[in-house]
Amino acid sequence: MHEISLLKNVREILEEHAISEKFSKVIKVTLEIGKLSSVEPDALRFGFDVVMKDSLAENAELLISELNGLGLCQQCGQQVELETSYDPCPHCDSPFIKVIQGAEMKIKDLSVI
């Protein structure tokens, strides 16, 4: 499961921020995960405590805000809701849709002391 590698990246990123932003403990981590990303929020929740153990985010709370998929049809120009990044356009059936939201997987912010 690569959710574990992603969580290791989270840990590294917040350790770097601990130095640049001068904090020593993370109380809450907010992630933004798009529904079109290949990440399973439940798997992140499941692995979070294990990966953060013995780090400055040990026992921190994990908040995941999920973003819906949105795309722009390259043929008819309409904005469409997407369940997957390869849905055809519901208006003109074109398979060429540019994803404009929903592919995100990022750390938004941290509550720290």
């Binding site: 290949s38 055809p88 060429f96 941290l110 509550s111």
Partner: protein, 247 residues
């Protein structure tokens, strides 16, 4: 010291050194505050991938990232490809498997340099490990570098290694609906190789249906059908490569 990323870490991935820990002791007067981060979870991998990519560009190394489920025929395809092309341009191979040197040994038997990365429990290669592997292998300029990823149709799709193209290998014994079951991988790949076509008479695999499914998740995907062991259509693939390595 690593020539590409400049770090002094030995080549070993997913086995990070304990980071410079900021000890988690805090004082009574500390108050909670919000720190904006807005950083992609893959930002580190992507940064290493971009370093690899510009290295490949500077040195005219055409790099492919081969992905498939276990046993689709990636190593066989590479061995047969090397036999045909090794006198045309230099070829090097990076082999990713959770365990064993078997695949790298199979490549070395052809006389081409190969480096095995054992990912242990990790299910994919990452760009940092590839950067170290390039330095260790000493990949030549104006060459082909093939990276055989860990057999897995899920995780490698998210990890850019700096390659020019992901190539997904699907064998006809796996079922024609794989592109729909693992859409992310087929979406991320530029070329699909349908392998083991010599077995088509014996299995229920509808090539047309498979191609339609693949185009459904990736309308731009290129497709080559071949048999790596019997050689059918093999020159379509080697021509595809030659046209891209020798530009």
């Amino acid at each position: 010291m690593c020539g590409i990323c400049g770090c002094s870490q030995p080549r070993k991935i997913n086995n990070r050194l304990q980071p410079v820990g900021v000890k988690s002791h805090h004082h009574e007067h500390d108050t909670e505050r919000l720190v904006k981060v807005e950083q992609d979870l893959l930002s580190k991998n992507n940064a290493y991938a971009e370093q690899n990519r510009s290295y490949f560009q500077q040195h005219h190394i055409f790099t492919l990232n081969l992905v498939s489920s276990p046993g689709a025929g990636k190593t066989t395809l590479l061995v047969e490809t090397i036999k045909v092309l090794k006198d045309r341009f230099p070829i090097a191979v990076i082999e990713g498997d959770q365990q064993t040197e078997h695949d790298a040994d199979r490549i070395r038997a052809t006389g081409v340099p190969a480096l095995q990365i054992n990912t242990g429990r990790a299910c994919h290669l990452d760009a940092h490990g590839i950067g170290h592997a390039i330095t260790e292998l000493g990949v030549k300029d104006y060459s082909l570098l093939a990276i055989e990823n860990v057999g897995n149709l899920v995780c490698p799709s998210s990890f850019d290694l700096g390659e020019a193209h992901k190539v997904v290998v699907l064998s006809v014994t796996e079922g024609d609906d794989k592109p729909l079951k693992y859409p992310d991988m087929f979406h991320a790949s530029d070329l699909m190789i349908i392998n083991k076509t010599d077995l088509l008479p014996y299995v229920d695999f509808d090539v047309e249906r498979c191609i339609n499914y693949a185009r459904q998740v990736n309308p731009n995907i290129q497709i080559i059908q071949l048999s790596a062991t019997k050689g059918d259509n093999f020159s379509i693939w080697t021509d595809w490569l030659v046209g891209r390595v020798e530009t």
